[in-house]
Symmetry: C2
Subunit: 150 residues, 2 copies
């Protein structure tokens, strides 16, 4: 098993970062504008859909939610490599900042697609940071493209 | 051992990407403006220095160089967590693009600093992409800051 790991510091209260990860309004403004479902209750499923030609995306089941600093999703539908992996968010206050420790855990192999997703997650984390700090994120389809595909 | 993995596609010939990784001029324009040494010969050592208060940085020994698509560095000085790790670049043509497979291998533990460096590497890879595609990168001290520190 291999993991994608990232960290950003967001200059905002923890509650604002938590809201961006657990409400449809928040999620549509930094990740995919086509986001539906229930991100604010354990057991809920959130559908994220991208604008690329195949209309692909991910369904995430909410496993844990704690306003004190934890959001945990499990991928229940999407690309074969993603199914069964977990996306883990840990938030903690750090002065004027909220530190965000991110992990996308449980990849079976370090395939090229994992390399791509690692870079792309960083780009979306910067979108999350921008959204919370300035009110403006860069969700798909307005995101920064990192290669010929996405 | 844990690894940081990334991938970007750069819309340019492979030789241009290779030059940005192996010449002091190239390296200063996407990573650290204060870069010295010999990146264009195996056995050479390149010093990268950041503008943050402690003036820290990394010394990389060039282990492999192949214009057909490989650059491999080993960290010989810098933060304790980096020493002995390897930074591995593999380039390959993909239509109008050059695919860049990046790995920073050999971290002993997935510490918070590794999470930070993973995100920061992605930001610098986007700087590399921008430099090669447009002529303008975002090296330190002009880079995108991802937290209160850097």
């Amino acid at each position: 098993m291999v993991d994608i790991l990232h960290k950003v510091g967001i200059k905002a209260p923890e509650a604002e970062v938590y809201a961006a990860l657990t409400t449809t309004d928040g999620l549509t403004r930094w990740w995919t504008t086509d986001t539906r479902g229930e991100g604010d209750a354990p057991g809920g499923v959130v559908q994220f859909r991208f604008s690329v030609a195949d209309g692909g995306g991910f369904d995430m089941k909410v496993l844990e939610l704690d306003p004190a600093g934890r959001v945990l999703w499990e991928v229940v539908d999407g690309p074969e490599e993603w199914i069964g992996t977990q996306v883990d968010w840990r938030l903690s206050p750090a002065g004027e900042y909220t530190d965000v420790l991110f992990a996308h855990r449980g990849w079976r192999e370090p395939v090229e697609f994992m390399h791509h997703c690692s870079t792309k997650w960083a780009v979306y984390l910067m979108s999350l940071k921008s959204l919370v700090e300035t009110g403006k994120g860069a969700p798909d389809p307005h995101d920064v493209k990192i290669d010929s595909w996405n």
